[in-house]
């Protein structure tokens, strides 16, 4: 596995993946060896070395998450099959040719998190009706982030509000981003879940609290840490499903023949503690959609 977060912070997903493998009859140490490698602090440039290392270990298959990781593996080996656990935008980033017939030696699941970016804007606006400006925290160094920013801008415009881009390429950019956002009157923040942002999750949540800014995320981990609301695919479920792709490929299927799966459910998690701290009342229309409420 080549992932964007350390095994500790990605435990829920890894455990879901392991569960999927167990249900398919794989037992670690008997008929399966699982090696986990992750970059920390969003240093995606390290994926290259880690990919080479895994290929050097003669792994039979690599499960990845981020676009950067996929590109690194594809550079390191043209033959090792890749299973995407939760790729945000496989089509736009060009790693696959077609959802039904991905081509190459790659398949897996797409989170289609970007699809939901307009929905994030809408939900944040619904919680903060007087919001006129929204800040989008994302790493523009990641190819998918361009799309994210475009979608956010369009959605904001359709709601008559301004979108402000806060480009976070490393942890050093986070502090200044918040300064810029509050400085220009942003009343809410949408974050990406790029490796850089995920590895600075704590800082982002703390700064949002300090600046009294409501945040919305694609990934429930942010909300569990104190973010206000998340709306996105159930990532552990995607990791669980990824196990079935691993199984099929181990049993001889060609990755190119396995269509990309999409999440069947979108879940919303709201942290009411955070809402209370921010002095916000979550409207009924939002609460109705919530799958989980953290009190």
């Amino acid at each position: 596995m080549l992932d964007t977060a350390s095994a500790g912070s990605n435990a829920a997903n890894i455990e879901a993946f392991r569960k999927g493998l167990r249900e398919l009859g794989y037992v670690e140490g008997q008929n399966l060896i699982l090696d986990y490698r992750a970059v920390t602090d969003g240093r995606v440039e390290l994926f290259r070395d880690l990919a080479s290392e895994l290929v050097g270990l003669k792994v039979e298959l690599i499960v990845t998450r981020s676009t950067a990781a996929i590109l690194a593996v594809q550079d390191a080996s043209a033959t090792v099959p890749i299973v995407m656990a939760a790729q945000a935008e496989p089509l736009g980033s060009g790693v696959i040719a077609n959802l039904a017939h991905p081509g190459g030696n790659i398949t897996g699941l797409s989170s289609f998190a970007l699809d939901l970016v307009p929905k994030l804007v809408e939900l944040l606006r619904e919680i903060v009706p007087r919001m006129t400006r929204v800040a989008v925290l994302t790493n523009m160094g990641n190819p998918v982030s361009v799309t994210r920013w475009d979608l956010a801008q369009t959605a904001a415009r359709s709601l008559g509000i301004e979108a402000q881009l806060c480009d976070v390429r490393s942890s050093r950019d986070i502090g200044p981003s918040f300064e810029a956002a509050t400085g220009q009157g942003a009343r809410g923040i949408i974050t990406g879940n790029d490796p850089v942002l995920r590895s600075n999750l704590r800082t982002i949540i703390d700064l949002a609290a300090i600046h009294k800014l409501p945040t919305i995320h694609s990934d429930r981990e942010f909300v569990e840490m104190g973010g206000l609301i998340s709306y996105g695919p159930n990532y552990p479920l995607l990791y669980f499903r990824a196990a079935s792709f691993v199984d099929k490929i181990f049993k001889g299927a060609r990755p190119a023949d396995l269509p990309i799966e999409q999440p069947t459910a979108v879940e919303m998690v709201i942290n009411l503690r955070t809402a209370k701290a921010l002095g916000l009342t979550i409207p009924q229309s939002v609460l109705l959609r919530a799958d989980e409420v953290i009190e």
């Binding site: 959802l99 307009p118 929905k119 809408e122 269509p259 990309i260 799966e261 999409q262 229309s285 109705l288």
Partner: protein, 593 residues
Amino acid sequence: MSDAAPAATAPPPPSSPPKTRGSLFRKYVLLFSSIVGAALLANGAVEVWFLYRDHTELLLRVQREQAEAAATKIGQFVKEIEGQLGWTTQLPWSAGALDQRRFDALRLLRQVPAVTELTQIDAAGKERLKVSRLAMDVINSQNDLSQEPRFTQAVARRTFHGPVYFRRESEPYMTLAVAGTRRDAGVSAAEVNLKFIWDVVSQIKVGNGGRAYVVDAQGRLIAHPDISLVLRNTDFASLAQVQAARAGGQSPERALSTEDFQGHKVLAAYAPIAPLGWWVFAELPLDEAYAPLIDSIKRTGLVLLLGIVGAILAALFLARRMVVPIRALQAGAARIGAGELGARVEVKTGDELEALADQFNTMSTELRDSREREERVGRLRRFLSPQLAEVIESTGADTMLESHRREVSVVFCDMRGFTAFAESAEPEQVMAVLHEYHAALGELIHKFEGTLERFVGDGVLILFNDPIPCPNPSERAVRMAVEMQVAIAFLAAKWRALGYELGFGIGITHGYATMGRIGFEGRFDYSAIGSVVNLAARLCGEAQDGQILIDNAVHAAVAPLVECDEPSDITLKGIRRPVRAFNVRHLKALAAE
């Protein structure tokens, strides 16, 4: 068996019987085992056929039931969504109701996870509300949707089931629209994610290697345990089972044996999902479906094989039982043929064959007895007349030889001058004369069927009417005597030429005598005792050469046939009164012919 052919080139005789035996043996074994084998085969075939039919029927019924259960579930799934949609069309379109409608719509999304997007259209066909999980909500856009099928069809038929489509070419979706019961209620249209049907389908267990799947009315795959196939937008319309479902879908069997999309042979059953025109298929690989059947056929085959082997063994046994006695009988017949009369055949089968063998043994015993009797008769014939020998043989000597009294004619004859001749001549000459003499007499005794009672040197005692009764015994005796005189006269002339003076005299009497066996164990003779015998001997003694002296009783019997000299009364030794005796001169012409 040809004696003409040299033994070296002729087929060896012993090889012939085994050949015929082999053919019978083979015939029996073949016939028996083929009859039993055919019966077993027919039985096995019938059994397998019924087994096959029942098994297939059962499997298909189970599969059909599974398909029907899944179809019901999916139908309920759709009905439930329709029901939920129906609730959202209860309210009339009036100002200020939009917020409430949005809450209702959000609640619906919450309750029905399969609905990704809900659009509410008012009675005029304007879009009033769109709530989505993925896209931004749209409120009161007033877009004109009045020409869209989801609106027109729903208004016309209250519910509308759109065709299955694939979002991003991979996610199966369907539009489901329901019109309100009130005229101004409008239409609620939902985009339903059909992946939820997959749960239903993947839970169906069709055997171990079987599967269930769903195709839409066009034959496109909607749900399959292998999600990849659905995501690849696979078309199943060309499969025989899908064609059968779409063509004559209402046929009661709803099952067939065909191939799946990978070309594997499967048993397929299907059921319609009524409201949608879709079909649920349950398929079981033929290998798996018929594995128990094949096992059972194997078992039947084994039993069949054992049965046939048993039949052959039984046939061998029975044929052996049949052939061995037949062969014994054959051998017995051959032994009899070879002269071993009385050959016995041991057959203990307790059936007709044993009866046949017993019959054979009886026959063989009879044959032996008959041969022995013939031999005995042959031996007796040398001493007795053939008639006597036959009688003795057929009636048994014992009864014949028992002492009895009967009226007999007794002929006694001997040679004149024999004593003197025997004294003077060489024994060889005596024996030669006796031989000629006896041969001449014997021939005549046989001719007249007399019974030679005994030889006493040149004396010969002959009986008539005993032991075989004969008509006119005295007449026979006299006729024989006349011929004897002629024959001996002929011989005497010859002997005279040799210098032997020999004559021949005969005495004949008739009366009662006692006949029977005399002698001791190891040597018995048949003998006649009585005065009539003595008298014959005495008359013979009185007779001159060429004379035949007969007593009164004989004369009385033959008087019309013969011419006699004047009777003379002769006083005989040992007989108190003189006896009247007649000398027969010759037979009358009447009788001489």
